[in-house]
């Protein structure tokens, strides 16, 4: 079938070439640039990876949730050769982080940072040195992550809060904190407000960035730059500000403005509250922020040197993040990057050849990737994707820099951009809907001489808000659209500087967003009338809506992903209106067997939800029909 299609494409290609002057090329996909290579795992090894540590000699160390450390020789599988696995250490307690330094591994167990040394050169650790240990209450959610070395050779670790229906830090000392373990093993508390900090890094400037998972006090996934004395938002760890060595003055949950207003507003009232550098809008980007690494490959991994790759465990994918400093503080944007990993992508580290090892696990933690565990390598094949390389803030808008020159006509067409802004509630409740969404009308665009940059000049730049920058119709010189046409910029600070000179050669600016919004409203009204009735479901339209609103991030028509399949939902025979209610205000207790709670999606227009709901319910009748057919066809 595939071959047949391929042939057809070629034939059609010839035809079009002859008929039309321009041909529309086949759109390229992520795998045309970044290829996923699967590292084979011997039968019987449960490689539920918690940590990845490439070694300078080309071997790779990985630690697992079952407490093993494997050293893999030939993990690059050069010329299709087999990797070889050696059990270096075992018996650790849910090891979720591994580093290799000066001939030894450092591994974080639940309650201990352990140095693993092979003193007799038999390829097996014989010394399990306790570098530091800390208290635990015994709650399962008290995961410990790290270590990540800084330049001085000290190690950073992060500690989850316990889960007792909410995030609780007081059950054991320093839960909910970023701590530094010095070479002598002493522990220095650095910052708190951490909820589920599964991934963090020390960047080339020596700054600590950590990723947070949506939950209580966390409206959506996000990455925050942590400095000594910062409070990143979750109240669980504040209990330990009472300690004499706390870098924060004594703070309690009562000091937090728990009003449900945006975090940006709350931070005005609470000095220690640190704003995230980049929000990763829930489900639109990821659902469970995991590891991150800075591109220090000097081009071996493509055109993104100095940028960051951020993984999402639940969606089995990599995202990209750019940072800039505005008014002395990190802020920036996130972008889709690469989907399709085999299991829950928890850890990523650079291999020696500029490819990226991705350690994966999904046991008990739902993930899009179907395997229970896995180890893969992401390799750049040398071709440059047409991407928004960076989106950076300007006093009156944003500047998009591309990886390739952009087609000027498409870049100057204002209707090719979809811009808006929104944020989340800061509150003790779990998650948040999107709130305060507003249009950010585009006044005009300026394309640079070399067509590598487009400056968007906008109205309604909203400080503290997440700005969606979508550039759907832009093409490069080959007629290819952007590989990913969306970015979310977190505008904590609006830079000062020269305003764009507004004398655009382009057509009269139109308020794209407003027009679309109005259209939506009309549609919604119409549907109100017909929603409760059966009406013809346009599957193709719904498909677009599911993509647009990122529903497909967690749900698939037929198979369980992070959330239940639509077919499964259909079986519950909810009315369309009930589905609308549940989309806006999910009831996770209805789905006790799913690990990840659904976030409220109240920003999705009612009309769209009802269309989706009708489609979901149509799956039920479809199934019934199929069954009937079967019966009828029986001999």
């Amino acid at each position: 079938m595939k071959k047949y299609q391929f042939l057809l494409t070629i034939i059609l290609g010839f035809l079009t070439q002859q008929t039309f002057a321009q041909i529309k090329p086949k759109p390229l996909t992520e795998e045309d640039f970044y290829e996923i290579k699967t590292i084979s795992i011997p039968d019987g090894i449960k490689l539920e990876i918690g940590g990845v540590a490439p070694m300078p000699d080309g071997r790779l160390g990985v630690c697992t949730r079952r407490g093993e450390v494997w050293v893999i020789e030939n993990p690059y599988q050069i010329n299709g050769t087999q990797p070889s696995y050696t059990l270096f250490a075992s018996g650790l307690h849910e090891a979720l982080g591994l580093a290799y330094r000066d001939g030894a591994f450092y591994c974080t167990q639940r309650g201990e940072l352990t140095k693993l040394i092979d003193t007799d050169a038999d390829g097996k650790a014989d010394v399990y040195e306790s570098v530091a240990n800390w208290d635990l209450s015994g709650n399962y959610h008290e995961y410990s992550y790290g270590p990540v070395f800084d330049k001085a050779g000290d190690m950073y670790l992060t500690f989850n809060v316990a889960w007792v229906g909410y995030g609780e830090g007081k059950l054991a000392k320093w839960r909910g904190w970023l701590v530094k373990i010095k070479k002598d093993g002493s522990l220095e508390p650095i910052a708190t407000g951490l909820r589920s900090p599964a991934g963090f890094t020390v960047n080339s400037n020596g700054d600590v960035l950590y990723g947070e998972n949506q939950g209580d006090w966390v409206g959506s996934g996000r990455i925050t730059h942590l400095e000594k004395g910062d409070f990143a938002g979750n109240a669980g760890g504040l209990h330990w500000t009472k300690e004499p060595d706390s870098p924060l003055k004594f703070t309690t949950v009562r000091d937090i403005p728990d009003t449900g207003e945006p975090m940006f507003e709350a931070a005005k009232k609470m000095k220690s509250l640190k704003l995230p550098a980049v929000w990763f809008p829930h489900a639109l980007m990821g659902i469970s922020t995991a590891d991150m690494i800075e591109d220090q490959t000097n081009g071996q991994f493509g055109p993104f040197t100095g940028q960051y790759f951020v993984y999402d465990q639940g969606q089995s994918k990599a995202m990209r993040m750019t940072l800039e400093k505005v008014n002395g503080k990190y802020q920036g944007a996130c972008y889709p990057f690469r989907e399709g990993f085999q299991s829950g992508t928890l850890r990523a580290r650079w291999g020696n050849d500029g490819s990226m090892f991705v350690g994966q696990t999904s046991r008990g933690w739902g993930a899009t990737g179907k395997e229970l565990f896995g180890l893969q390598r992401l390799v750049w094949n040398g071709r440059t994707p047409f991407e928004m390389k960076t989106v950076s803030a300007r006093p009156d808008g944003f500047e998009i820099e591309f990886t390739q020159p952009v087609n000027k006509t498409t870049a100057e067409n204002l209707s090719n951009y979809e811009l808006k802004s929104f944020t989340y509630k800061y509150q003790h409740q779990y998650g948040s809907p999107i709130i305060n969404q507003e249009d950010t009308p585009l006044r005009g665009v300026i394309v640079s001489e070399d067509r590598m940059k487009v400056r968007l000049v906008m109205n309604n730049m909203r400080q503290g808000y997440i700005h969606q920058v979508m550039a759907a119709g832009l093409l490069n010189d080959e007629g290819q659209p952007l590989l990913h046409d969306i970015a979310y910029y977190t505008l904590n600070e609006i830079p000062t500087g020269d305003l764009a000179k507004i004398s655009f050669p382009t057509t009269q600016p139109i308020k794209v967003e407003n027009v679309i919004a109005k259209k939506d409203k009309v549609v919604a009204k119409k549907e109100k009338v017909i929603a409760s009735k059966e009406y013809v479901v346009n599957a193709k339209e719904v498909d677009g809506l599911l993509k647009k609103h990122a529903c497909i991030a967690c749900h698939n028509e037929k198979v369980k992903v992070v959330g239940p399949s639509y077919t499964e939902i259909a079986k519950r025979n909810y009315s369309n209106e009930r589905i609308l209610e549940l989309v806006y205000k999910p009831e996770p207790e209805n789905w006790p067997e799913y690990a990840t709670e659904m976030a409220p999606m109240s920003h999705v227009p009612k009309g769209d939800v009802l269309k989706i709901a009708a489609w979901i319910n149509s799956l039920n009748s479809k199934k019934a029909k199929v069954d009937l057919d079967k019966i009828e066809n029986r001999d």
Partner: protein, 615 residues
Amino acid sequence: MLKKLLFLLLPVAGFAQTEITLNDLSAFNNPSANWTIEGDVSGNFNATSLTPKVGKGVLFCTLKGAKYQRSDDLKFNLEHGDIKLSMDFMLPKGSNSGIYLQSRYEIQLFDSWLKASTTDSDCGAIYHRWDEARGKGNEGYEGHAPRQSAVKAPGLWNHIDIDFKAPTFDASGRKLTNARINSVVLNGILIHQNVEVLGVTRGAVSTQEVAKAPLMIQGDHGQVALKNIRHEVLEKPTVTFSSVTYEYYEGKPDDILAQKIAPTATGNMAKPTQKIATAKQDFVLKFQGKFNIVEADNYTFSGIWNGVGSFIIDGDTLAKGWFIAPESKPKSVSKKMSVGEHNYSFVYAKDFSWRPNSLGLFIQKDHSELQSFTERTSLLDPDPVPLVEVKANTETQCQRSFVMYNNKKKTHAINVGMPSGLNFSYDLNQGGFLQLWRGKFLNTTEMWHERGEPQTAEPMGLTVNSNDKFPLNFLPNATAEIMDSLSKNDLKYKGYKMEKRSNFSGNFVYPNFMYEYKGLKVNDMSTPLDEAVGISRYLRFEGENTANMPLYALLAEGSDIAEVATNRYAVDNKSYYVQVFPTETNKIIMRDSKGKKQLLMPLNGLKEVSYHLIF
């Protein structure tokens, strides 16, 4: 999961068991002179006899008479059918006895200590049956070896729990169902579960199976001591059920209950079952039936269902509401019932599909077996959780985990499994043994199944509890109290080294735990003793004594400590032995401390101390 299942099927907690008083032999039918009442007995793991101590509370088979005289078998006055039985027993080296349920089905008591693999003659076995007609060498058949060896060393107390279901017969005496061992738990280890015994075992008083017969202990093969004999005799259930009528409605339960919808099906059947409902959701199923009470008594009604239900007895609503198995607790309520016919009805409604239809309704007379109103498949079984096991057959395995110890979670614990079949769990924060066990190594299901929220690992063998205390203590004098736990400042855990040691079991590595204790550098290593009789613990310490106090080693602690031989003590109700090695100048001190006994050894001038734990 097993616990969950038992909990579900036995909604009413077990009634108090009756204890057989052992002040004299009046509980027994014409006991032979072999049997005496004693205050205590003690033995030694290499001694072939037990030594009694005058007093009351312990039943002792002295084996004074000649061997193999059936008149020495001890018959209880207690006659039983279904029974839950528990007791402590002690055997000397090489001894052989047995618990004969109904004087016919033997659970073997035998000194099979240290046996690596088991047969149907080993301790805890359901002993084989015997038929000479099968020909020489083939007479024994249908015995059941215990799942693993679980008996302690001779001279230590063992504990056994037996749950037995007697055979049943029709009015003409024809056997309807076989006798069944519901379960045998020896020293905390499940060694049999749901095994049918097709006929009497060897040595039964009769080959004729009966509904009721006395309990019997074999008394002519070897010495045995018994105490804490408790039982609960379960009567055969007597409730009978008439057929039921049902009405089945499809649609929204609210509409159905508002009588807007006519039934989809009605009918009559022997027992209620949810299988009548063909829809997975949006239905109501109503049952109405009668049952007959033969004996007036207290009865417990219980129910498990997925959905909403209402259980009505004689017009009285006993249990009602929303329920989800297995998360919800069974609904159960007790009621005094008079003799005669009674009515019951059950309304079962379900408006969701995400759990399967499931319904179980039960009645249980006090001290009787649970009876089901519902058809046998109406209540769905919970999905079994697969075992996740760590084995230590060929190499020493260390596995850190949380460990439950005296109902508390120890968060910095390590389990060590040694190829000799000896294992221990150890509190790294305290430098103390938590548990020692023999047999299979570790059950990690609660760590590695799904999210593993408990994060606890459990021993899989015969386990003894230790004291979770670091042995070394600086004390002002030999009467000063030892602290219950040490702070991180006083005792600093530094890690462990895997070091090679050679012993009877071969060349293996073992963890040598490293500590700093008030200026001392301490190494703490445990290895298997020869023939795997127990574990040897060896502590080496050096450095400056900054405490300016003499150093002592705490070698044992327990409710009681009895010296059974020179430098050998049985500890904590004789649950394990401690072998100590005092010197001329550093002699063992036995002392009382906070209601417990302790063995202390001064360590003046010493750089090391070792002791053995044998069980």
